[in-house]
């Protein structure tokens, strides 16, 4: 049984920042990461809105954060998915395949994953023309026509990234506008390889072994059209990784963790930071801010407990 002061679940920017602050507070910190440090950052090729960097890859930014946390004494354990947790009782326990943890405080920073496209043939063509990671799978569609579904920054950025391989990128957008940064939107609208279909929603995909066409509907007229393409990349938002916490931690209807201003959850000593919690803006900068707040309040919680024990 390992007993760190603070156990951080998740190694994205929120978790890594929490590790930096908790380590600087001289707390014993362990961070468990499912794969390797970075979270959703790992799939971001160019970050141009993180202060201090004109442009930086997600891998480099995550690597620097992880290195800083380690140098300050935080223990980062990769390839350690959490199997089960018990957080509601006074003693908190977290179980991985290789170890059990009984920390004084827990910071949940497990983040979010891309939402699956809500179309009938999603499962049939997953990995065969239905994709969620352009940096992972985009290169396999060289000289092909691919679609991108979504209306935020991710959809715009990934569409631009896919132009490196695809002969044509068709953006399928339900509404008549995008929510992303104006500069990215402009780059998309001016790109010779990108065609934007406003007011179109993806109904389904079809094909043999892999996707060969998409069926879209005009959201204003209801008119349906088929488009020949080899793949559709979905960026229709994210869903939180909170399945393990459902029993102990209060979540909203979408499964995001409810916190107060100090990032406390409904359970004393359990905090949530980053994309996993209910919040209005999900950016790297806001994840970093969350990590800070959660770690400082975890420190306060632990010290209060010690004072009470000493009194």
């Amino acid at each position: 049984m390992r007993e760190p002061d603070v156990l951080i679940l998740g190694g994205g920017p929120a978790g890594l920042t929490a590790a930096i602050y908790a380590a600087r507070a001289k707390l014993a910190v362990t961070l468990l990461e499912t794969v390797t440090a970075g979270g959703q950052l790992r799939d971001t090729v160019a970050i141009e809105n993180y202060p201090g960097f004109q442009s930086v890859t997600g891998e480099e930014l995550a690597g620097r954060m992880a290195e800083q946390a380690k140098r300050l004494g935080a223990e980062i354990i990769g390839f350690s998915p959490v199997l089960s947790v018990s957080l509601a009782a006074g003693v908190k326990t977290v179980q991985t395949k290789k170890a059990s943890y009984r920390p004084k405080a827990v910071i949940i920073a497990t983040g979010a994953v891309p939402k699956k496209l809500p179309i009938p043939n999603e499962a049939k063509f997953a990995g065969r023309g239905i994709h969620y990671c352009a940096t992972c799978d985009g290169a396999l569609y060289e000289n092909s026509v691919v679609g991108v579904v979504g209306g935020g920054n991710s959809a715009l950025e990934e569409a631009l990234f896919l132009t490196n391989f695809a002969s044509k990128v068709i953006m399928i957008r339900r509404r008549g506008y995008f929510n992303g940064a104006a500069s990215t939107f402009e780059a998309v609208m001016n790109h010779p390889k990108i065609e934007v279909l406003f007011h179109r929603d993806l109904l389904d995909v079809s094909g043999g072994d892999s996707v060969e066409s998409a069926l879209v509907v005009d959201t204003r007229t209801g008119e349906k059209t088929g488009i020949a393409l080899s793949a559709v990349f979905g960026y229709i938002g994210t869903e939180p990784k909170t399945a393990l916490f459902r029993r102990d931690i209060a979540l909203d209807e979408q499964g995001y963790i409810l916190t107060d201003e100090t990032l406390r959850t409904n359970v004393p000593g359990v905090f949530a930071a980053g994309d996993v919690r209910v919040k209005a803006v999900r950016q790297i900068t806001t994840a970093v801010a969350d990590g800070t707040v959660a770690a400082l309040n975890a420190e306060k919680y632990i010290k209060q407990g010690q004072n009470m024990a000493g009194a």
Partner: protein, 76 residues
């Protein structure tokens, strides 16, 4: 046991898979499917899926970074 891994340079899960193999001191041969058409064709012949990484462990295929399956096949 021969391990072949099909990757692209920007693919995070490919990096994770390589880091995982390296952490267990397992030698592997990497094939960049974005740089070599032959490698891409070879991969697609083995699996009809276009999801990376593809890890070929002595003929058994793991598509995507699936730690449980890798541990099972590699006896870790």
């Amino acid at each position: 046991m021969e391990i072949n891994i099909y990757t692209t340079p920007d693919c995070s899960m490919c990096k994770a898979a390589k880091a995982f193999l390296a952490a267990h001191n397992l030698p592997f041969t990497e094939h960049d499917v974005s740089a070599s058409r032959q490698a891409a064709a070879e991969m697609l012949a083995k699996t009809r899926e276009r999801k990376l990484p593809v890890i070929d462990i002595g003929g058994e295929l793991v598509i995507g970074f699936d730690q449980d399956r890798l541990e099972e096949l590699l006896g870790l």
